[in-house]
Amino acid sequence: MTHLGYLIVGWGVSLAAGAAYAARLITRGRRLAARVPTDRRRWMTAKDAS
């Protein structure tokens, strides 16, 4: 395979950045959710409330 170095860098950085951002979103969401009272997390409580 030609240009393997370029391909690994391009694909690697893209996948790594996506994974890192996804991980950050999840941890950020968990930390925030823990601080918000259950009755104000609208999309999570819609079913329990009804």
């Binding site: 370029y6 391009g10 694909w11 950085v13 979103l25 925030l32 959710a33 259950t38 999309w43 999570m44």
Partner: protein
């Protein structure tokens, strides 16, 4: 149906059953994309294997423009209709768009080195326009992060979003005139020069990136929602406390 398990996952963060399975699909899709992109799709006659960069570059570029369009629409809807939903959507799309845009620029230059023999070409319209858009959207995010009054920040950000959208055609035109030449392929999807397998892989790539975009949008939207709830909640509490204090102070006088 199975409420207990759903609540168990829901309570721990911004996920839901839908985002969980969407996330699983994105991971599976990414693995499939690597396999397809590196082994199933054929090498190009001219570019050889460098052409495989198309499967990360083109989808991220496409989704960048989808994201920034959503920011523009959201900005308009905030100013016009005071739609909180659109305001949060605009913010979420801008953040994800900036990341996708950075990846587009990065994979573009890494791809450009073996094929155009240069990391960066000032004469390329799409490249330079995308860079300027990237810089403007960084400004958008810094306005979003500037703090202060919630609604005022949303309005400021919305105006930046509109300024960016309105000026983009003229940025594009100026760059186009500036260097009357372009290295970019016209449009890889429509000119029919792609091999069947390459085209199929590209469509898979776009689908995977779009699914990831949707997944990230949902999570980012909910994070923004929680942040807002937290600030509003804190404010409510502060007002109650302050009121209690005031009542307490007054009581001896009465």
């Amino acid at each position: 149906m199975t409420q207990t398990s759903e609540n168990a996952t829901a309570r721990t963060g911004t996920g839901s059953r839908f985002t969980f399975w969407l996330g699983v699909a994105v991971i599976a899709g990414a693995v499939a994309l690597v396999v397809l992109g590196f082994f199933a799709a054929p090498a190009d006659d001219e570019q050889r294997d460098a052409v495989r960069m198309i499967f990360v570059h083109v989808p991220s570029a496409l989704l960048t423009y989808v994201a920034f369009s959503m920011t523009a629409v959201g900005s308009l809807m905030w100013i016009w209709k005071r739609s909180l939903w659109w305001d949060i959507t605009a913010h979420a799309a801008a953040e994800i768009g900036v990341i996708f845009c950075a990846l587009t620029l990065f994979t573009g230059s890494v791809w450009g080195r073996p094929t155009w023999n240069t990391y960066w070409d000032w004469g390329d319209v799409r490249l330079v326009t995308t860079l300027i858009l990237f810089l403007i959207m960084i400004g958008y995010l810094s306005i979003r992060a500037s703090g202060g009054d919630e609604e005022a920040t949303s309005t400021r950000a919305a105006v930046v979003g509109l300024v960016a959208a309105v000026n983009l055609p003229i940025v594009n035109r100026s760059v186009e005139w500036w260097f009357d030449r372009t290295l970019h392929q016209k449009s890889s999807l429509t000119d029919g020069n792609l091999e069947d397998m390459t085209l199929f892989t590209l469509v898979v790539g776009i689908a995977v990136w779009a699914a990831f975009f949707l997944w990230a949008m949902i999570h980012r939207f909910r994070i923004a929602w929680l942040e807002r709830e937290l600030r509003v909640g804190d404010l409510d509490e502060a007002i109650i406390e302050r009121r209690a204090e005031a009542l307490h102070d007054e009581s001896p006088v009465l």
